[in-house]
C-alpha cells in the first residue's frame, strides 16, 4: 500500500442529502444516484479537500467504527476512487486551495 497522502473534495456537480445514517448523492451531470452508508457518510462529510484521507479515516472512521486502520484506509481509497470515477468527488495529491474547492 502506498504511503502517499491523497486529498478528497466533494464535487460541486452534485445534489446531496443525509437522511438518518445514510447519504444520498445525485450527479447533476448524468443524474446517477449513489447511496452511502454510515462509514461512507463519515468520509464524505469530511471531504473538504484539505484534510488528508489517512487523517479522515483515523478521525472519522477508526474512532467511530471498529476497524483496523490499514484495512479502513485501503477500503476508503477504493471507495473514494469509485466516487471519483463518477465525478462525485475529486482526488488530488496536494490539498485543494479554497478556490478549487469552491
Amino acid at each position: 500500500m502506498t504511503t502517499e497522502e491523497i486529498y478528497i473534495a466533494q464535487s460541486t456537480d452534485i445534489a446531496c442529502s443525509t437522511l438518518g445514517d445514510d447519504t444520498i448523492i445525485m450527479s447533476t451531470l448524468d443524474s446517477t444516484v449513489f447511496m452511502l452508508n454510515a462509514v461512507g457518510t463519515a468520509i464524505w462529510k469530511a471531504a473538504d479537500g484539505e484534510i488528508p484521507l489517512s487523517r479522515i479515516v483515523q478521525e472519522q472512521v477508526c474512532s467511530q467504527f471498529e476497524v483496523a486502520e490499514d484495512l479502513a484506509l485501503a477500503d476508503a481509497k477504493e471507495f473514494v476512487g469509485e466516487l471519483a470515477q463518477h465525478g462525485i468527488l475529486s482526488i488530488t495529491s496536494t490539498p485543494h486551495s479554497p478556490s478549487e474547492v469552491l
Binding site: S17, L19, G20, D22, M26, D30, M35
Partner: protein
C-alpha cells in the same frame, strides 16, 4: 364539458393538477380528438396563463415509446421525439408544438411541460397508480410490471382512481396533494379529476403474501428518484427533482408493499 372556441382557432383549456394550459389548434378534427381524450380534464375556464399552440405537420416516425429529448436553449425548453418537436418558455408560460395529428405526441408534451412547471415548486409526476380512499390519497409506485395497474384493477368500489400510470403530486402550503390525471396506462381510461392530501407512498413488490414494511429514508429517496418522470437532465432541474424527492420522503411515510394480486391487498390500505 364544452371547450371554449375562438373565431378561427379551436382552443381548449386542459387542466391537470390544477394547472390550466390552453391548447390552441386550428384543426377541428384535432380539437375533437383532444376533447375526447381529455374528457373531464377539459376545463370550462375561459382563460389561462399557460398556452401551447399546436401546429399539425405530416408524420415522420411515430414511436410513442421512444424517449423524448429535452434540453434548455436560452430561455426555451426544447423537446423532441420522432412524432413531435416543441418548445416551452418557463418565463412566459407559452410554447409551440409541431406534431402529427396523434394523441400520444400532445400527451407527451403535456407531461413534459407539467414536470417542468412542477419541479421548482416541489412537485413531480411519478410512475405510480394512485387512488383516493376516505379522503386520503395513496400512491403505488414501481417500475414496469411492478403492479401499478394491478392495484388499480383490484380497487374496491369505495376507492376513486386518480391514475393507473402517472401520478401527479403537488406541494401546496407545505402539504402534498395527489391529483387525478388523464394519463392512462394499461387500464386505458383516465383517472378521476379530483385531488386529496397524500397519506402514503407504497413501493410495489409482487409476493405470495401481503405485507407492509417501512423503508429507510435514503433508500426511499433512491427508489422514488427511480420512478419520478424526469425528462430534463439539466443541472438546475436535477437539483429541483432531488430536493423534491428528499422533502417528500421527509413528509410522507414510504412503505414497501409486498402483495399477492387479489383484492385482499386493499384491506391494508386506507
Amino acid at each position: 364539458m364544452p371547450a371554449s372556441y375562438g373565431k378561427e382557432d379551436r382552443n381548449m383549456i386542459i387542466e391537470i393538477g390544477g394547472l390550466p394550459i390552453e391548447v390552441q389548434t386550428s384543426d377541428p378534427g384535432f380539437a375533437r380528438l383532444l376533447e375526447a381524450r381529455y374528457g373531464d380534464f377539459v376545463s370550462s375556464r375561459v382563460e389561462s396563463a399557460f398556452s401551447l399552440r399546436v401546429q399539425l405537420t405530416p408524420p415522420k416516425t411515430s414511436d410513442p415509446d421512444a424517449d423524448a429529448e429535452v434540453w434548455l436553449e436560452g430561455s426555451d425548453w426544447k423537446m423532441q421525439r420522432g412524432d413531435f418537436r416543441a418548445r416551452w418558455n418557463s418565463a412566459t408560460h407559452e410554447g409551440e408544438v409541431f406534431q402529427s395529428a396523434n394523441p400520444y405526441a400532445i400527451d407527451s408534451v403535456l407531461r413534459i411541460v407539467h414536470t417542468l412547471m412542477l419541479a421548482p415548486q416541489g412537485g413531480f409526476l411519478l410512475h405510480a397508480s394512485s387512488a383516493v380512499r376516505n379522503g386520503k390519497a395513496f400512491l403505488f409506485s414501481g417500475v414496469s410490471e411492478a403492479g401499478k395497474t394491478t392495484m388499480a384493477r383490484l380497487a374496491p368500489p369505495d376507492v376513486a382512481l386518480l391514475t393507473d400510470e402517472a401520478s401527479y403530486v403537488r406541494k401546496l402550503d407545505g402539504q402534498y396533494f395527489a391529483y387525478g390525471t388523464p394519463f392512462a396506462g394499461e387500464l386505458g381510461h383516465p383517472g378521476k379529476n379530483i385531488s386529496a392530501p397524500v397519506a402514503a407512498l407504497y413501493l410495489l413488490k409482487k409476493a405470495t403474501k401481503n405485507r407492509i414494511d417501512p423503508v429507510d429514508p435514503a433508500e426511499a429517496v433512491r427508489r422514488l428518484l427511480r420512478n419520478i418522470l424526469f425528462f430534463a437532465h439539466q443541472p438546475e432541474m436535477v437539483r429541483h427533482v432531488f430536493a423534491s424527492a428528499c422533502a417528500f420522503v421527509q413528509a410522507i411515510p414510504v412503505y414497501e408493499l409486498s402483495f399477492f394480486p387479489d383484492q385482499r391487498v386493499w384491506d391494508l390500505i386506507g
